[in-house]
């Protein structure tokens, strides 16, 4: 509802972000904890195993979990510091109500939930069911993701439910479904260890998935060659055998040219292509003109390097191709993904030991969360909401007539656009901070200000929730039982180490309470998280993401189970496609022709420099959690503008000079970091910060036509040095407004 109730400074004073540090001699009780809880990190898709030390219902420290097979105790800095989100002074302890001119005041749960119920009902009666929307997120467990999907469709009865996975790996999901009929990385990561060639495309593994580095380094110890595709020399690229410094927005040209090279040099697995795939001829026809010279011109990579990379990939007998947001955050995200898959299929290196392919899912439960139905076009088990069969099955599980099940709704960014247009009037958000994470966030702010009613569920008051009318104090990762599915497709157990403090409640209990108030109590009668999971098992049964055979006990006994797992005696599936039976209707893997086209915005005279965005190792997503942890903020206190010395010289920019970066959507000021490790035509800004320090003031909302992912990774900008040298530590960016 409209603008902030009070100045942002006042909100920050009351609700943070404030920085949390461990006391000098540790939290009391760390040496003799009441419990050591085996659970997982709350951050990225690796879901590293970790043990939390608990004393008096507080997390007081951690101890590495040496036995968990993926990470064997290894952690990144975020994982090491994750325990500091507990015991945090900014933690919301009561439901809050907006008070004009004052800020937010604590209210009772009844007051808050009655108001939410009344507003949902009022808006839906006045403007229609779909005028109330829900934005969810995939840091939630499988149980909560499933619950949000059911809550939206059965209790709120809106079709407008989407999630922040829309900014994450939807392009990969869409590409994988097209090619394989199923959306999961094909192998677990131990298969990396003996791959001969590894391509890492648009994935800053060492900063965003640091613990995955181990498996890539293991492979290299065993002699693997590493090819890294990235506009910057990322830490992984420094020692890589080949680094392809690609111009942002031109990825599909590179993969097209590499495919043509494989075809021209007959580095193909004809048996595999003939017997297990379709669409090969159309696909190679699409790349017939993509010569190395052409690719050099488009991508800005020397043709010799492309040739070298293609030859290296072509000759290998085992390989693994990994990609992430770098190729997915594009208006051609799906095409880029398909370009990669074509390279895998052409060489037939899939469905065998040490032959793998996959996207590296970014968010904590980016994998599981995108399978169980809080996506606007999807139902549990990765079912399609427009498919009558699928609708019927899920309606049956939920005990509602199929006709009452809403249809496909708007995707996350389209939803913001609909709010901006005034078509959608109400919003419930959980686990999503779009004011930092969506592109062109000045536009997002305008949209938020137009809402008639906005309720946010969160454990901290994030930047977006400052616009809310009601904030419901929900639960942290370590406060609820559940499961998540890691980027490998391994379903693991999340443990409740502590219970929510003061009057905060578990997210699940809040949703169940709301569902009851909305008149759907009989459809939401779970006694605990396991009961939700057991319903999810049934709902996913027969779907591609089949969890039916997975139980809490089985997960605990095996430290995780890989889906698909169709029956209780099934061991799970760490490696897909060993039987060469793909999940497509015809059982074959599909080549998809990819024609190169330009990104949504290209450079011109007015905006001559390519801007790309990304992440840093010490922050996670929009920073709601990590911008509150003192040492993580200390590691990288502010976003810097990475710029090549030649480009810097052209504009007369000096090291750490403040530079005004402008695009057609907004401007921001960032200190320059002049480094030779970036392309000469491209600048880079990490995006985790809010307000004036937000890179997403600049980015563009062009969407991929299929996946509807926004084009975070490329737009056009101009640079102006401001003549002021900023010294480190002079500014605080973690609470920028």
């Amino acid at each position: 509802m409209a603008k902030l109730p009070v100045s942002p400074e006042k909100i920050i004073e009351d609700f943070g972000p404030h920085l949390n540090f461990t006391p000098t001699e540790g939290y009391p009780g760390r040496d003799e904890p009441d419990a050591t809880v085996k659970t997982h990190c709350c951050f990225c898709g690796m879901q590293c195993g970790i043990q939390l030390l608990v004393k008096n219902n507080k997390v007081v420290g951690f101890e590495p979990w040496m036995e968990f097979p993926f990470n064997e105790g290894r952690l990144c800095p975020k994982g090491v510091q994750r325990y500091l989100q507990d015991n945090h002074p900014d933690r919301l302890l009561d439901p809050l109500e907006r008070v004009e001119g004052k800020g937010f005041k604590p209210v009772s749960w009844d007051t808050a939930l009655d108001r939410v119920t009344a507003e949902i009902q009022r808006i839906q009666q006045a403007y229609g069911k779909d005028a109330f929307s829900i934005l969810s997120g995939v840091s939630l467990t499988n149980e909560k993701s499933y619950l949000m999907g059911k809550f939206a469709r059965v209790a709120v009865k809106t079709s407008n439910l989407d999630y922040n996975g829309r900014l994450c790996m939807v392009s990969a999901g869409a590409g994988n479904k097209k090619a394989f009929g199923l959306d999961r990385t094909s192998n677990n990561y131990t298969d990396l260890a003996h791959a001969e060639v590894i391509i890492v495309a648009g994935a800053n593994v060492s900063e965003t998935f640091p613990t995955l580095t181990y498996w890539i380094w293991r492979a290299r110890d065993n002699g693997a060659k590493l090819i890294v595709v990235d506009p910057r020399v990322i830490p992984l690229a420094r020692t890589a055998d080949i680094h392809l410094p690609i111009k942002p927005g031109t990825d599909s040209a590179l993969y097209g040219a590499m495919l043509k090279y494989l075809v021209d040099h007959d580095m193909l697995d004809h048996d595999f292509i003939n017997n297990h795939t379709t669409g090969f001829d159309e696909t190679i026809a699409a790349v017939k003109d993509y010569t190395l010279e052409w690719a050099e011109q488009v991508t800005g990579i020397e043709k010799e390097k492309i040739e070298q990379a293609a030859a290296m990939w072509g000759k290998a007998s085992t390989s693994f191709l990994l990609h992430a947001r770098g190729i997915e955050h594009h208006s051609k995200g799906v095409e880029n993904v398909l370009g990669c898959i074509n390279l895998v299929l052409a060489t037939g290196r899939i469905g065998r030991p040490y032959c793998g392919y996959g996207t590296i899912t970014g968010q904590g439960n980016g994998q599981g969360g995108r399978e169980h139905g809080h996506k606007c076009d999807q139902l549990p088990g990765n079912r399609d909401i427009t498919n009558p069969e699928h609708r019927k099955y899920i309606a049956g599980v939920w005990g509602i007539p199929e006709s009452e099940l809403p249809g496909k709704g708007l995707t996350a960014y389209e939803l913001i656009e609909a709010i901006h247009r005034g078509e959608v009037k109400g919003l419930l958000s959980i686990c999503f901070n779009p004011l930092v994470s969506l592109p062109n966030n000045n536009y997002v702010r305008e949209a938020l200000e137009k809402l008639e009613f906005y309720v946010a569920i969160d454990f901290f008051l994030n930047e977006t929730a400052r616009h809310a009318d009601i904030i419901l104090a929900g639960s942290l990762h370590e406060e609820e039982e559940g499961t998540v599915t890691t980027a490998e497709g391994r379903v693991v157990r999340i443990r409740a180490a502590v219970s929510p403090p003061a009057n905060a409640r578990t997210d699940t209990s809040i949703i169940l309470d709301l569902a009851a108030r909305l008149g759907a109590a009989d459809k939401f009668t779970y006694k605990d998280s396991e009961a939700i999971f057991n319903e999810l098992r049934i709902a996913s049964k027969g779907g591609t993401a089949n969890y039916y055979g997975i139980t809490y006990k089985k997960i605990e006994d095996n430290m995780g189970v890989f889906w698909p797992c169709p029956s209780e005696d099934h061991p799970g599936t760490p490696r897909l496609w060993e039987d060469k039976k793909f999940a497509t209707p015809d059982g074959k893997a599909h080549f998809n022709p990819v024609h190169y086209r330009d990104p949504g915005e290209v450079t011109d005279e007015e905006y001559p420099v390519v801007l790309t965005t990304g992440r840093v190792v010490s922050q996670y997503l929009s920073g709601t959690q990590t911008r509150r942890i003192g040492k993580l903020v200390g590691l990288i206190p502010e976003p810097l503008l990475e710029i090549h010395p030649e480009l810097a010289m052209k504009y007369g920019i000096r090291q750490r000079e403040m530079v005004k970066v402008s695009t057609r959507r907004g401007t921001g000021e960032f200190p320059a970091n002049i480094v030779e490790t970036i392309r000469k035509d491209t600048v880079f800004i990490p995006y985790h910060w809010p307000g004036r320090k937000s890179a997403n003031q600049l980015t563009i909302g062009t969407l991929d036509p299929v996946s509807k992912i926004p084009e975070f990774k490329v737009c056009a900008c101009k640079l102006e040095p401001l003549g002021v040298i900023s010294r480190p530590g002079e500014t605080t960016a973690f609470d920028s407004i």
């Binding site: 001699e25 040496d31 065993n222 002699g223 020692t239």
Partner: protein
């Protein structure tokens, strides 16, 4: 630690100890003011003095220590003497009297140390002069014989009257019980430390019994028996007085004898911190060293130059082929150089991995 006898140290320690005996002899007015009950303590004190000085001299002769010692006095006597003395006093009050540098490590820790240190130093200040007969208390002869007058006590230093106070006055109470206050302070500090040492995992891992726990136990025994003597005398009609008196004496003497060798030597060492401050302050005035790798200042040029000498004196030579030194680089520069050399070796080896 030092197997052979150090002649210089022996000489200095002997001279100082003899000097002390002479001063005490005359200070106690030829033993007139000397309290024979304290004879055991006297020998303990003299031994501690001898051992402390000996150890101190041995310590000073170590090249790095000597360098600091020499530089400190050199700087104090060169340049503006009074400014130095002022800063030195200021530093001494802050760091020696109040141990302010401990405060950032933990408030409780500082409090404990402050209590311990204040208690010990005050107790030293009282007992050592008493033991050596430098101080004694006498009933004022003028009031002693006058039954109507309020009794006055005189405190004498080297036999000279320095002050007098009324018997039964608050001041008298404070002075006669000074050691009681010291004891309580020491007990408070030592107990806090003791509990900390038993519960902090980091300390448990790195402490030793004789180096860290025994000194605390000893201090607690001294203080408790000291208090006990008083208590027994005042309230228990002397019960267990002898036992406590003997335990007290043994523990004090142990403590004194141990000063030169164990944990307590740091009391004597600590003023060197002030020297290090002067060294840094003066060095800054003379100019900073700039790391050839990082291009940043990292310490004083004086420090780098002195370290080149000191490292050679202790058997290390970081001189490079071009005549410069590895010590010319900052810590970050040194780490980067190592990493660069390693990178080069890996590149020449043809593989980063495996």
């Amino acid at each position: 630690m030092h197997a052979s006898l150090n002649k210089k140290a022996l000489l200095v320690a002997t001279i100082v100890t003899l000097g002390c005996v002479v001063i005490s002899f005359y200070g106690s007015r030829k033993l007139q003011n000397f309290d024979p009950a304290l004879i055991a303590y006297l020998f303990g004190t003299l031994f501690a003095l001898f051992g402390g000085i000996y150890r101190y001299c041995v310590w000073l002769q170590r090249p790095p220590t000597w360098m600091y010692f020499r530089r400190t006095w050199q700087f104090i006597f060169k340049g503006s003497f009074f400014v130095h003395i002022w800063l030195l006093l200021e530093d001494s009050v802050k760091n020696l009297l109040f141990q302010r540098f401990i405060y950032p490590r933990g408030k409780k820790r500082w409090f404990a140390h402050f209590m311990l240190a204040s208690g010990c130093l005050a107790a030293f200040a009282i007992t050592i002069p008493l033991t050596l007969g430098w101080i004694n208390f006498t009933l004022d002869p003028g009031t002693a014989l006058d039954p109507g007058a309020v009794k006055l006590y005189n405190a004498n230093f080297f036999g000279f009257k320095v002050m007098s106070f009324k018997l039964g006055s608050v001041l008298a109470f404070l002075i006669f019980h000074a050691l009681t206050w010291c004891s309580w302070a020491v007990i408070a500090g030592a107990v806090i430390f003791f509990v900390r040492r038993l519960t902090n995992a980091g300390l448990i891992a790195s402490q030793t019994f004789e180096g860290d726990l025994l000194p605390l136990i000893l201090l607690i025994i001294i203080s408790v028996t000291g208090l006990g003597l008083n208590f027994s005398y005042a309230f228990m009609k002397g019960m267990a007085y002898d036992f406590m008196s003997v335990t007290h004496a043994i523990s004090v003497i142990l403590f004194l004898v141990w000063i030169p060798f164990g944990k307590f030597f740091h009391i004597i060492q600590r003023p060197a911190q002030i020297g290090a401050h002067i060294y840094k302050r003066e060095g800054k005035k003379r100019g900073m060293a700039v790391c050839p790798h990082t291009g940043k200042e990292f310490t004083t040029q004086l420090h780098v130059n002195d370290l080149k000498i000191v490292t050679k004196q202790v058997g290390f030579d970081f001189t490079l082929e071009d005549g410069s030194s590895h010590l010319d680089y900052s810590p970050e520069g040194k780490r980067s150089l190592l990493a660069k050399a390693h990178l080069k070796a890996r590149q020449e080896g043809g593989s980063f991995f495996g």
